[in-house]
Symmetry: C2
Subunit: 349 residues, 2 copies
Amino acid sequence: MSAVRRSYTRPLDIKRGRVDLSHGSGGRATAQLVEELFIRHLDNPWLRGHDDSACFEPPPGRLVMTTDSHVVTPLFFPGGDIGCLAVNGTINDVAMAGATPLYLAAGFILEEGFPLSELERIVASMAQAATIAKVPVIAGDTKVVEHGKGDGLYLTTTGVGVVPEGVEIGGARARVGDVAIVSGDVGDHGVAILAQREHLQFESEIRSDTAALHELVAVMLAACPDIRCLRDPTRGGLATTLNEIAQQSGVGMLLQESAIPVASMVSAACEFLGLDPLYSANEGKLVAVCPAGDAAQLLEAMRAHPLGAHAAEIGACIADDNHFVQMQTRLGGRRVVDWLSGEQLPRIC
Amino acid sequence: MSAVRRSYTRPLDIKRGRVDLSHGSGGRATAQLVEELFIRHLDNPWLRGHDDSACFEPPPGRLVMTTDSHVVTPLFFPGGDIGCLAVNGTINDVAMAGATPLYLAAGFILEEGFPLSELERIVASMAQAATIAKVPVIAGDTKVVEHGKGDGLYLTTTGVGVVPEGVEIGGARARVGDVAIVSGDVGDHGVAILAQREHLQFESEIRSDTAALHELVAVMLAACPDIRCLRDPTRGGLATTLNEIAQQSGVGMLLQESAIPVASMVSAACEFLGLDPLYSANEGKLVAVCPAGDAAQLLEAMRAHPLGAHAAEIGACIADDNHFVQMQTRLGGRRVVDWLSGEQLPRIC
């Protein structure tokens, strides 16, 4: 965001104005949009510096970097919007390396004609999420594409963080005998988006679980420094995430269906919609794998945190050359929980 | 890119296949695309790790972070494509802070129906640019939007780099009496894109100047550690970049029109197209501001590097409370070189 303060003839008309191609030109209109909308909400010393990059002194330790493009539709949904979703999602990807998130960058692709009032709502939501998480957005970029070449707004966020000394977390570190824990009810985000898209009304509103999990992770690492794997089951849901870990670690998994927490509203909605909550996206949940002996202590610490109140042990890693994820069903049978095939819900995040 | 190796029933048909929504699902199809296309070309230990974030040990020093979304159309143009453009452009934004680029992340937004063969060409071009620059792409993400909600491919790249001890570069550091230097002929990229878009034929092909400038910057800093400002004049061109620096530093500038290098083909094309090369985008050029006493030495060092062969001193910083950029024209007059207003060329990068 290199554009700098000028005196403009008129302030940006955020209430009635719309994005036009000049806002992506890099010239005067871009400068005004950056100044009067982006910096006004995301204000911090880095953005105020108006350089093309942002400079910071990293704390000691290994750094992690992660990026995610967001194309969720609709842009606004019960429980959040693309702005807070992007901030929380990128913070979570950093946190899943056991790292403390430090800074974010944001790249906007706007469609010509997009209302400036909606852009402001989204940027304000990003700013609020960044403030709550204490992870500032220090660099950004805005491009504009012609009407019909986008879908309102796409948002790519990138995060960097620092891994505390002694923490070693990775998808390949699960061992036979370890247990798998999920931090709460699964499937909320995917069902909330689909319900909104299809204009479905349930008894009470199903809301996205979008939330930043780095403080929960810090609590978990304090309670159990030997956590092997952490991952947030977003696209593809819990089933896909567990398959990824099984594959990377070279183990099988055996889950207990009755132990997997699903909110009753989400369970009912899934039945109605023909969805499986195990494949429905989450945006404020995590899966942890830890040594069996640490599980009780870890669960206790998680349940004491608001974002881990419904944490549950859902299964264990077993020896299996095929690296299958299997599930003991409520009826006593066993079935393979495969990867997501095809596309259950496009543009869920 | 958390997807992991599986045995797929059939390999990806890159020659005839197209992107479909399942490639953005986060499930099996995403994993196959990541494995057989992205990792095959961008291969490095970070991507092979298959975690959602990439970990590295930063060298000592301040870090910089920068992000840019790329929406250039057409995706392929004389001298490059969106893939190498994104890699080089992000490296350049890092380098303009005087920093050594370390790592890149890439977020892809693909349109349903986009040919996998074109995606492969673009990823291979990114990989080649990253290899030449010695700056690996260590994290990535892929999303897919429905046909008609994108334009083939959008690409957001983020870079981190480290600023060597003692280097202090910023757009606000120009002082009255300093001189402005440009590293070579201006306007090439913008004219190359427009010519391609309009199917114009000139005597010889006008090619984008896309190139990574970090090695030129290293040579420049060795010759002149007191460089005040560095910036790459991309969108908005040389005129907008100089206005940004004048505004940030609180100085005026006086340019000599006759000193600004423009290739004769580009000059002729601009006249024909009604463009001004001062507002036409560059993707392999930089502007430097340095103390007047260092200019000769800096120019000599720049001209010894292939990417600075046509480097020229183009003007000086002067006292001006309005922070205007003025130009002494070839005819002896003086005119204000204003910011770019409106949009000269949409989707130039």
